[in-house]
């Protein structure tokens, strides 16, 4: 069956200051890679704008309103040490969340077998009521709650292999036993959370920190020993991947030395779990990844794996 990819050109209009790593070129390089003939069989859809009621499943209404009112008419405003809003940020944020929601719709209704959403801003640092770390709305969390509310998914598992810990996703699901959040990430590193002892109110949060200098062998061990058995035992109805590619060896923001082959491997392992428990349903959403070449090549390996190629 088909793999779907979802994006929207308006996501380029979330502008960040000059020199900022989370920049529109990230989506351009992915677009260029996915134009290759190898990807001719992908289904492609434009990310719609999420409804505010969809976003409200993960964020309080007054937080959403605060963001909307902070959007500048021109120029940039800072809402956090490294998170800014530009005039195009509101629509980009709605489409970023909306792309993840559309991917859930298409995967849960069986129209496609899995999906990859490459939009920006990314989401996994956004806590219920705090924008931070380049993130405004938590797209993966909104997607998980959408699958539960609209399609009756009882258990949703999120695996986050971005090199930074997804403090936002962990915050949103800390007390929610219906969602498992698992993460590999470099530690110590921004945002500082993600210790092994952070396990959530229902022991359904699984953190497997890596150390600076670790590579594919340590990453695969962390997956095989700490994460995959827990995901399998959780028996999810849907697997969501918070797909950050900044653990790539070329990435300038961290010191983990993965290659694109490691991302392909991790993707296949997560698909195996989805095959066993979730009818193969996987929705992957882009998080970080700041070396354009490393990002492009890693996304290609990730999507090739999703296509079972």
């Amino acid at each position: 069956m088909t793999t779907l990819i979802v994006s929207h050109p308006k996501c380029l209009e979330h502008v960040t200051p000059p020199g900022h790593p989370e920049r529109p070129d990230r989506l351009r390089i992915i677009e260029r890679m996915l134009e290759h003939e190898r990807f001719a069989d992908l289904a492609r859809e434009l990310a719609p704008e999420a409804e505010l009621s969809d976003i409200a499943r993960a964020h309080p209404g007054n937080y959403i309103e605060r963001i909307r009112q902070a959007i500048p008419l021109s120029g940039l405003v800072s809402i956090d040490a490294d998170t800014t809003l530009s005039p195009g940020s509101w629509e980009a944020s709605l489409r970023s969340a909306g792309g993840a929601i559309l991917a859930v719709d298409e995967v849960m209704s069986g129209k496609v077998s899995n999906a990859f959403v490459y939009t920006r801003p990314p989401g996994h640092h956004a806590e219920a009521a705090t924008a931070m770390g380049f993130c405004i709305f938590n797209n993966a969390a909104i997607a998980a709650r959408h699958a539960q509310a609209v399609y009756g998914a009882e258990r949703v598992a999120i695996m986050d292999f971005d090199v930074h810990h997804g403090n936002g996703t962990q915050d949103i699901f800390w007390s929610d036993e219906s969602v498992m959040y698992t993460s590999t990430h470099e530690m110590p590193l921004y945002p500082g959370t993600g210790a092994i002892g952070e396990t959530g109110d229902h022991d359904q949060i699984v953190n497997a920190p890596l150390s600076a200098g670790d590579g594919g062998a340590e990453f695969r061990d962390a997956m095989e020993i700490a994460i995959l058995p827990r995901l399998r035992a959780f028996n999810p109805d849907l697997v969501i991947i918070s797909a950050g590619f900044d653990a790539h060896q070329r990435d300038p923001l961290a010191n983990i030395n993965l290659t694109e082959a490691d991302f392909g491997w991790a993707t296949r392992k997560l698909m195996d779990i989805a095959d066993q428990t979730a009818g193969g349903r996987v929705v992957s959403v882009l998080e970080g990844g700041y070396d354009l070449e490393g990002l492009g090549r890693s996304v290609a390996a990730h999507v090739m794996a999703l296509m079972r190629g």
Partner: protein, 82 residues
């Protein structure tokens, strides 16, 4: 799309691992055009599969080596026909 990597199935272990190492070095140096890296990566995956298959075969053969009473290898049983 014709399979550009059909020849991999006939490569010896030494040939396959040698080419795989070259591919890894190339990708690590980053001196490959981005679009070209997709084809190279796919060939790498095919080479890796070939090496893994040859290793599994070799391992199966090693397991068939029978030991004499004094612990010295006394011969190789034929592999099960498959």
């Amino acid at each position: 799309m014709a399979d550009k990597n059909a020849d991999v199935a006939a490569l010896s272990f030494e040939k396959a691992i040698g080419e795989l190492e070259q591919i890894v070095q190339k990708l690590e140096r980053g001196d490959v055009a981005l679009e070209e890296s997709i084809g190279i990566y796919e060939r790498g995956e095919a080479l890796k599969k070939r090496c893994e298959m040859l290793l599994r075969d070799a391992e199966a053969r090693v397991q068939k080596i029978t030991l004499a009473a004094d612990g010295t290898p006394k011969g190789v049983e034929p592999l099960d026909p498959s």
